[in-house]
Symmetry: C2
Subunit: 169 residues, 2 copies
């Protein structure tokens, strides 16, 4: 069967991320490097019923639109390494479909507001979806971590925070 | 600041998933229950340069459009339990933005074709993005798993496969 490029898909944000990150260059690159960076997801009231029971989970995946991603580049130098890589082998924002994925801590819910920690997301980012993190599905043991294995832990932690202060600073 | 509903976002598929799953009702609900379900991601040639270095990773996140999701429901009975839950507290397809997220095994790459295992995705599904799974970012220890903790492991494994045969059957 010949593959035809399927039609475009259209999504409408379900809410907005509120965080202390207002400059991309000072925003941690992953939740792993965003300890002590709290924030909120403000879900639009028409979707509030969909949040029922979410507060039972300690961690959630946020899927969001990188609204300040800039133009698509198929190869990029990742934040952690000065070597050009295929964009799909990185988490860089300049992807053909600029969808962000962050696994963050859910600290509470009040109605349509989610209280979050470990936020690596710019303030004002449009939120597309929320999924619960379920240990029995999601805590995978990977055997190979590609070019990431060339970056030592100290370098990753230093570069990963991107000048965001440590919690005790 | 008053929150305004931000504009819709438009994405174009970067490829198509090929799997042995042609009926939704017989498709495993998660990669965890899809051992022995191989398949491919056929990336459109114009995006092939973005795949460079991806083969170094043993696991990848696939983000895709649930093209047969049906209408949005804000509360659903999840596959694993007969109790109505908020859709964002489940991984059900009938979400406001029907984006699927699966963490699958990458067994190889030939040009623009990715060879995959552990596929819980219907054949013909439009692929939106690929991200490498990086142990140092993604292997989170969650402390609370919500309603999922009410489902025992045996039930989850039985229901999770959804009649997909075991590898040795």
């Amino acid at each position: 069967m010949k593959t035809q490029n399927p039609a475009a898909v259209v999504y409408r944000p379900i809410g907005v991320i509120r965080s202390g990150h207002i400059e991309a260059s000072r925003t941690p690159i992953q939740p792993e490097y965003a300890a002590g960076c709290p924030g909120r997801a403000e879900i639009f009231p028409e979707f509030a019923d969909g949040l029922r029971d979410l507060e039972g989970f300690s961690h959630v995946f946020l899927l969001y639109h990188f609204h300040r991603a800039g133009e698509t580049r198929l190869t990029v130098k990742p934040f952690l390494q000065d070597i050009e890589r295929g964009v799909f082998a990185t988490r860089a924002p300049s992807r053909p479909n600029p969808i962000g994925l962050s696994l963050v801590t859910l600290t509470g819910r009040e109605g349509n507001i989610l209280f979050l920690d470990g936020l690596d997301i710019l303030d004002g980012t449009p939120l597309l979806d929320i999924k619960p993190y379920v240990s029995r599905f999601d805590r995978t043991v990977s055997t190979r971590n590609g070019w990431q294995e060339e970056v030592n832990q100290e370098t990753a932690e230093k570069l990963g925070r991107r000048m965001s202060p440590l919690p005790d600073e």
